[in-house]
Amino acid sequence: MSEQTREYPVGESPELPAPNHQPGAVKWVMENLFSSIPNGIVTILGLAFLYMVIPPFIQWAFIDSVVLGAESRQECNAINPDGACWAFIYRRWDQFVYGFYPADERWRVNISFILVAIIVAIALVERLRAIKGIIWVALALVVACIILIVGFFGLERVPTNKFGGFMLTLIIGLTGIFASLPIGIVLALSRLSTLPIFSIFATIFIEFIRGVPLITLLFIASTLLSYFLPPGTNFDLLVRVLIMVTLFSAAYLAEVIRGGLAAIPRGQYEAADALGLSYWKSMRLVILPQALKISIPGIVSSFIGLFKDTTLVLIIGLLDPLGIGQAAIADVKWIALSNELYVFIAIFFFIFCFSMSRYSLYLERKLHTGH
């Protein structure tokens, strides 16, 4: 550094050798892997670890595994006792996807999957998002999904306890995500409101929900809610779970959005006031667009959290993929295939959550206008 800053009189600069530049893989390896002895040891240990883990896993999961052609675990073992027995996932694939949704009606779920994909595309592809009224299209599609899956207007009604598998995960996850966002915004605004009563109520609500484990809230939804409703009334367990999951997610979102709101410089609020905008208008047109933009990483990570938390419904007896799988491996034919089950479901969640987090990173970078 000192060489660069030293000043030489004109014409007297010494002849320096060209910078030591050793291109190619060797240099990269030397710099990044073996720059010092401890570094080299770490590298070797790391590579040894990878060698110990990856080849046996590939051997187990792919090379030695049995996917088709086995009707039971015994047959799996007969074909290859060392590998994974994925056959039960193949045999029960329909259950993993649809739960116990009646086989003849599954086309309705398939159509809904397509509609959901369209909604997600609308939410993701920004050229579509710019079109006004697109939100109404999305809402209409959501309503269409509900009609299709639950079955109104002459379609055969499918009771919600037949829902299960990935379909259930998506229903709970997506409902929680979309329904909790507006509630979370309202809660965050209330908590920051200058009206003390609103602020107090919002704070109590948020702190209560965030202070207890989701599993206790789900227990309440599944067992206690009937105490709080007028005698003789009850409504669907899935609806109760959806409400609880939404409230839970809303409380977490509210804190994320509150952080975003707090990060907006005061000048923005004052500017909105100076323009004579009403509270709601200033929020809608000036403050919230900026605050939500700042909060996007937080919002997405709480969505990811919510999506992962959908597995907890297993404990109150809803048959999410994990529940379906546990029922499957309780069957004499597929007994004790727990490793296969857990790995399979872990991969499913990883794909969803990882792509969500990548998308959030992408958005963050794109929306970062810089100051």
Binding site: N32, L33, L195, V212, P213, Y227, P230, T311, L322, A346
Partner: protein, 397 residues
């Protein structure tokens, strides 16, 4: 004058009241209070009616009935003939135990992985990235089940287990370790330990004074460590080694004696720590990156040595960013420990909310207790965190 006339002209009307900002604020708040009160009144009313209809009694008297179930891991003495209340306390202590151990391990893992992710060693930083991404994106319940499965299926069975060393046995029924049994006179070792602690603290203060006065640095860390280790060890031998050891031995079905870490605890502990550690790693990384590069350059310019720069300049500033989310991860870990129920670790939700609830049928009361306990833990930690935030807040202009 005419302006006042105009204002006086319209008699009192609701519309006018609504257009007045202050009045509207008050009206809205009153409406909100009434609404919430009505809502809760409705809930309570329904609950009372429902309880009447079902003809069940309500109250906490069931807590004093005999629990009549056993718990395999307890921190305090507990028998099946004790009360449900005591079973609940045992569960709560188990919750706190796994939360405490989890917080420590998760912090170690998280800080290590967070720093390692910033390492210039390609293999190490990539490995850590894979760890963080893989673990964060898989539900923690699944990870708990997976770890439990691995432990009970891959660890050796009791009969097949070979001691790793004297008194250390790894089996799928737990890790058995020798347990030190303090005998008469061991109290003196404790006293020596505390004396050494105090002495180390005094020395540290003295060293700081010397540093401030003369700029000379005394070897604080070395001296304190020597004090804390040597003094108790000397006392131990002076008192004639007052420590027995109970080593686990295979008797009948199981190892007896020694100290056992149960697989349920181990699985929950590992899963929660590894899961939370991945989040902490991200927090630590972000915290270190958040300290502006100018800060370390400024320290270099002042001639502060690199490791001191890290300790005195970068870390204090990074901690300001790290600690609040870190605490909320600790809270998450504590709350996630309620998933213990999936593998049969007897925490609060499994004892009180599980077996007691099932035996007594007092769902309302039991859930009230459990919610209150978790709320109490969460709120007291948030309270402490707020105090910390106030203290480290940057003074804004």
């Amino acid at each position: 004058m005419s302006v006042i006339d105009v204002q006086e002209k319209p008699p009192f009307s609701l519309g006018a009241l609504w257009r007045d900002k202050k009045a509207r604020a008050i009206i809205m708040q009153i409406l909100a209070v009434i609404g919430v009160l009505l809502f809760f009144g409705w809930l309570v009313n329904n609950t009372v009616k429902n309880i009447e209809n079902l003809g069940v009694s309500v109250g906490f008297d069931f807590l004093w009935n005999t629990a009549s179930y056993d718990i395999n891991q307890t921190l305090i003495d507990y028998k099946a003939t004790d009360t449900h209340f005591k079973a609940g306390v045992v569960g709560l202590l188990n919750t706190l135990l796994v939360a405490f151990c989890g917080v420590i391990l998760a912090t170690i893992l998280g800080f290590t992985a967070g720093v390692a992710r910033l390492s210039n060693n390609f293999v190490l930083s990539r490995l850590m990235q894979v760890y963080v991404e893989a673990v964060r994106n898989v539900p923690v319940l699944l990870q708990i089940l997976l770890w439990y499965g691995i432990i009970i299926h891959s660890f050796p069975r009791v009969k097949a287990a070979v001691p790793l060393m004297e008194g250390v046995i790894v089996t799928n029924r737990g890790l058995f370790l020798p347990q030190p049994l303090p005998q008469d006179g061991f109290g003196w070792v404790w006293i020596a330990f505390f004396v050494a602690l105090i002495a180390a603290y005094m020395f540290r203060r003295y060293a700081k004074k010397v540093l401030d006065a003369t700029g000379k640095q005394l070897p604080v860390l070395l001296a304190s460590l020597t004090l804390i280790v040597v003094l108790p060890v000397i006392t131990y031998y002076i008192m004639g080694s007052p420590l027995g050891v109970s080593t686990p031995e295979l008797k009948g079905f199981n190892y007896v004696g020694g100290f056992a870490i149960k697989p349920e605890f181990l699985a929950l502990w590992l899963a929660l720590s590894i899961y939370t550690g991945a989040f902490i790693a991200e927090i630590v990384r972000a915290g270190i990156l958040a300290v502006s590069h100018g800060q370390s350059e400024a320290a270099h310019a002042l001639g502060i040595r690199p490791n001191l720069t890290m300790r005195l300049v970068v870390i204090p500033q990074a901690l300001r960013v790290i600690i609040p989310p870190l605490i909320s991860q600790y809270l998450n870990l504590t709350k996630n420990s309620s998933l213990a129920i999936a593998i049969g670790y007897m925490d609060l939700v499994a004892t009180l909310g599980g077996i007691t609830l099932n035996q007594s049928g007092r769902a309302l009361e039991v859930m009230l207790i459990i919610l209150s306990v978790y709320l109490f833990i969460s709120l007291s930690i948030s309270f402490l965190m707020n105090i910390y935030n106030e203290r480290v807040k940057l003074v804004e202009r």
